[in-house]
Amino acid sequence: MTTVEEQPIATTPAPVAENTLGGYVREYFAKVRGGDVGALPAVAGLVVACIIFGIANSNFFTDRNFANLFQQGAQVTIIAMGLVFVLLLGEIDLSAGFTSGVCATVMAVLLTQHGWPWYWSVLAGIGVGLVIGLFLGSLVAKLGIPSFIVTLAAFLGLQGVQLLFLSGGTAITIHNSTILAIDNNSMPTWLGWTLYAACVVVYAALRVMRSLGRRRRGLVPEPWTVTAARVLALAVIAGLATFALNSERSPNPLVISLKGVPIIVPIILILLVILTFILSRTAYGRHMYAIGGNAEAARRAGIRVDRLRISAFVFCSTLAAIAGIVAASRQSGVDSNLGGSNTLLYAVGAAVIGGTSLFGGKGRVLDAIIGGALIAVIDNGMGLIGFDASRKFIVTGIVLLIAAGVDAISRRRAAAAGR
């Protein structure tokens, strides 16, 4: 009962073997080798896909297509961001696609047929999403029906509701310029650069403050070189993106000038910041991960598991509503197919490709965006090459399988490495 064989390193936190930039890099590679791959497969896939499509079609790397990508992928990406919440708990929401459709339809009906101002219509649409989420979540958490069944029923039911609102399938066209601007227009170039500068400065400030806070308390902080590297990486990547988006992308600039960061980009960014904050900086978010990891432990810790379960569905459906409004903006109206066909499957794919586990407890909102980007790139790139829908579906399916495979393999490695 005296000697213990494990190495006696003091409890003073030492997050990495060496607290230097090199140490962090080595630690990261050790983590990846140990099976904790995070969003790495999605990022790698994104790079590979971009290279392949860039070589195959000269249009792929144009500024115009780049801006297009964001606008095309917005709906799926936003739904995927919401799905992260339910996936974290090990649940699923199959109805998110049609939730987005129904909410967009409610918005469009109020806007065009009842003459509501755009902001009330949008709020009403989002409100409907919130109510749908509350309903689904209550059935799952309080009645104990598996979420797969509840949301499968909602998938069918909401599809019908959408048809009902569209009186059997008549499409509604939206003319409101504000709604149309959401996923079609771009910001002035100066605003794009201002936003860019603000993002970098705020990010740097937050990192530095965090580091200083830890130093003040005598906890081992992240080395300054790592902080600098993070900020620099953001500055370079976001800078290049802003530059590309701010370049003239109109085929005929004399007739119409087309440049600037698409408005959808800051919308997604704001959602990303808010949701990431909720999941990683609040007790609520911590409890979400805890429930996903071990619901019984969470319950014993006094966490109200039922309420959180309901709230996850509320988040998911509310974000689906926002996604629906974005989609309605994109296609200048709603029809019976908005939110239908493969929207939901793409969104689940995006979340999973990004590294969110279907077993719960693992996933980030940012990863859903990366996964969404990969799906958008495949869709867009294959379209440019001239592949038809059949091949697009096959390739997207294969990519999803690969992503799930990587997840499974990494999980096995993680188990072997004891992580």
Partner: protein
């Protein structure tokens, strides 16, 4: 005993339907000591600690904590008094790190934001106070920890919340030799720090290694609660299996009656405890 026991329960009865699982059980535990609670399967150990922890409400019995009579109806009541139970399955989240697990459900928050530095510091201080040196980083995921380290985290969690009475349910059952030693060392350390520790165990070596006093349950009755230094290994085994050992334990008649009574009920009692 000269000092007032921190925990003192008298005459606890508990039935599940027709099966009486605990009958007139007396049990006490002193601060600064390790009290081992032993007994065969179905003897009522788990039921007793669940009554103490407020998960079950006892049918009758007197309950004193720190000398004052108290009533405990819910786990909340128990944790408010400073009673923390570390269950066999530990109730840790694999996907969270050590600090996050230790503060689960009771996170420190400032202005609505998790106060990570404060939590990390408090968790580190607690582990240091327990002389735990086996944890590399406070930010390690629990899934990367060994069984002994997990047990350590679960125990430290109880200590962090100012537990006065820490009840450990078979803490070494699933551990190897080195890790068992590590956990027992921690158990001893807890008592030396002035906490009252109740250790449920099947392993007599563990019991004699750390316990100051040993309470033996036999078919729902307290056979004897004795000082560890006053009994031998084989006496305790006899108490566990027969309910009596020489002068110690239940009187023959009672022991026999209990055996007759409990004979058919043993299986049911197991069922009731699940």
């Amino acid at each position: 005993m000269a000092t007032t026991p921190l925990l003192d329960v008298r005459g606890v009865n508990k039935s599940f339907g027709a099966v009486q699982v605990l009958r007139d059980v007396d049990f006490s535990a002193n601060a600064g000591e390790v009290t081992a609670l032993v007994g065969d399967n179905g003897a009522g150990k788990s039921t007793l600690i669940k009554c103490i922890g407020g998960i079950y409400t006892s049918d009758s019995g007197e309950y004193r904590f720190d000398g004052k009579p108290v009533t405990i109806h819910t786990p909340r009541d128990a944790s408010d008094l400073g009673i923390e139970i570390v269950y066999q399955d530990l109730a840790l989240c694999d996907n969270l790190d050590i600090v996050q697990n230790m503060f689960l459900g009771r996170e420190k928050v400032s202005h609505g934001i998790l106060d990570e530095p404060t939590m990390e510091q408090m968790a580190a201080d607690t582990l240091q106070g327990l002389s735990v040196r086996t944890v590399k980083s406070m930010r390690q995921l629990v899934s990367s920890l060994s069984g002994g380290q997990r047990q350590t985290v679960a125990i430290a969690k109880a200590v962090l919340w100012n537990g006065k009475l820490v009840i450990l349910d078979e803490p070494t059952a699933a551990l190897g030799v080195a890790q068992t030693a590590q956990v027992l060392e921690l158990v001893r350390q807890l008592a030396d720090n002035g906490l009252c520790v109740v250790l449920i165990s099947h392993n007599m070596n563990d019991v004699f290694a750390v316990a100051d006093s040993i309470a033996t349950l036999y078919l729902g009755q307290m056979a004897a609660q004795v000082k560890a230094s006053d009994v031998t290994f084989s006496q305790v085994v006899e108490l566990i299996t027969a309910g009596r050992s020489g002068e110690l334990g239940l009187r023959p008649a009672t022991a026999g009656a209990a055996a007759n009574h409990g004979g058919g009920g043993t299986i049911d009692m197991n069922g009731a405890q699940e």
